[in-house]
Subunit: 358 residues, 2 copies
């Protein structure tokens, strides 16, 4: 779908939602609607669309070159961030609109307060914007698939290189470089060893790979605006009884959760599919997170596959399915693929618990 | 200062500010107060401190291992993000406090609305938290200096390798790898060539270095929790008349702005020092941004050196001073160092317009 068609589709949702306008502020939403990727830092960026489809991409004049090249047909309104905060440009764009949908999980309190004080009524509208962003078209699905092929190539390099004595910091630096060399933006490998792999969000550090260690290799990066995100596991030497059993359990949870990623199910059905397997094995470790998250122009985007979500799965949604089991002493096991509702696996690559250094 | 001393210093500001408690939600503020670096994504993380100094670090149970290792003496309150959003844990921690200081430039609208609906009165308190974070102690100054020494080593590698025909994408991937190998987190080189360097926030792409191109090499990364951020320029072959004149002007603006980074001045004085030089040369290009930003546990943190800021410079503040001049056809020139109010340059390294490929 072209950027203009997306703006038009968003406009088509405003009347039913009782909104006069909508303001998108997330980088990924701005890029989805206009093709422009910004670097926000402390400055205000937004896309405001009034009922009827008119509106503007608002950005600091600092970004004039990239804004100028953006494919959007919307007006481009630049403001001088050295002199103002951009909100008066936003007010001009809103042009009489009063009830404004905003991305409530992104717009900050200061800007929300300024808008409210200026007389606007703010209405949470992340769901509205995500209703469009969540349903990926063929081109977007191909983009996620492409990102995954690049990540798979990096796994091949990783498995060929990784050996006992390597440090997490070095291995992650190399993987990030391999992703960047292939054109990946924001490469974020999280490759952890041994007990450290029992922390699903551990930061790579000086720990070196030791015989008997499990390896959890979570690799993600953005290619041409779309993310891929995968996890595979390995073991330094013959897998311990714990590692093999944990892998078997996670593989079962993965299979069941992937099978549940289909029309007719809700987000919590997918979570339940993995959770019932993982939670049945407390002797192996803990179930510390939901089944996964949607992925596209953001690495983590709504809907989230968690026990509290009744969101129905829809055609074109892509989710990471990533059950894991974690033990602070023995480490963790996680398997993660990017699954199009169907299910169709967009990141096919052997799931095996790879044995390193024979 | 220890993490406990920082919490205590923050508590010491609450009475005068008329606050019952303060809630820090930025990663960098949380790390400053507790030593814990999280990975927020969609989940709630915060540090709540009530008047009297009691409070808690609140995080998802997913992060239990890293939270467990954090040096903070505050209570550690974990919640299950698969089942709730963490706010009830926050309410328990606030324990009757009503008037709550929040980081208004970070807390999102959804959470602010939930807090307001629950009866809390939210008060902007970024300035209060930054009053502490902005004044760096000797250890923090040394950490920024260390980050700069690592970046300088990466410049040495860059200048030794860079040659006509190299692509921006490859050169940036290599620089990111060089930073990561040295232990840098979030390496974000922005090394741009020719006309593309006229976009201060351009993303590295397939463009290759051509004879006659200017090179703007902005290199930043975080080491041990603290950022360094520098920019140097080069030219492929003998500098053009434009490049040499633009460099001369930017060097003058840099000298004047560095000299203005002293006690007794305000943020806008530093900006004025560079702006009056850059804006006097519209034939060479445009002045697209302020003089710089504070730097520490965040790469861009308040105060910002912009024309609209009356914030007085204080002892221990560290700023990037980074005047630049930009032309969409001919490219850009920017010089950037990390300057302790004094001024003292924490990133001493030759500023020269380096000539590549003799």
């Amino acid at each position: 779908m072209s950027h203009a068609a997306r703006v038009s589709a968003l406009d088509g949702l405003l009347t039913d939602a009782g909104l006069d306008a909508v303001l998108a502020t997330k980088d990924a939403s701005i890029a989805y609607l206009t093709g422009f990727w910004g670097l926000q830092l402390e400055r205000f960026f937004g896309v405001a669309v009034r009922r009827g489809g008119e509106g503007a991409l608002i950005a600091p004049s600092l970004d004039r070159d990239s804004v100028g090249q953006a494919p959007t047909a919307l007006e481009k309104s630049l403001y001088d961030a050295a002199k103002g905060n951009g909100l008066s440009t936003l007010y001009d764009t809103l042009d009489g609109a009063k009830r404004i949908g905003v991305e409530e999980d992104h717009l900050n309190f200061a800007r929300a307060k300024a808008l409210t004080d200026a007389g606007y009524e703010l209405v949470p509208a992340s769901d509205l914007i995500m209703e469009l962003r969540a349903a990926k078209d063929a081109e977007e699905i191909a983009a996620v698939k492409y990102a995954c092929t690049q990540i798979i190539a990096v796994y091949e390099e990783l498995w060929a290189d990784l050996k006992v004595g390597d440090s997490e910091a070095d291995v992650n630096a190399k993987a990030a470089y391999a992703l960047a060399r292939r054109g990946g933006s924001h490469p974020e490998p999280h490759i952890l060893f041994g007990a450290h792999a029992g922390d699903p969000h551990g930061s790579p550090g000086p720990r070196t790979l030791q015989p008997g260690d499990v390896v959890v290799a979570d690799i993600s990066a953005q290619f041409n605006g779309y993310w891929g995100d995968m996890t595979r596991c390995a073991h330094a030497g013959t897998p311990s009884d714990w590692a093999q059993r944990a892998w078997d359990v996670v593989k079962q949870a993965y299979d069941d959760a992937v099978a549940a990623t289909k029309l007719g199910n809700t987000a919590k059905d997918v979570d339940a599919a993995q959770r019932r397997i993982i939670e049945a094995h407390p002797d192996l470790g803990a179930c510390l997170h939901g089944a996964g998250h949607a992925i596209g122009t953001e690495i983590h985007e709504p809907p989230f596959l968690v026990a509290s979500s009744d969101t129905p799965l829809r055609e074109g949604m892509i989710f990471t399915v990533e059950p894991g089991i974690y033990d602070s002493q023995r480490g963790g096991i996680r398997l993660e693929d990017d699954i199009l509702v169907g299910p169709e696996n967009l990141s096919p690559y052997p799931l095996e618990l790879r044995v390193l250094g024979g």
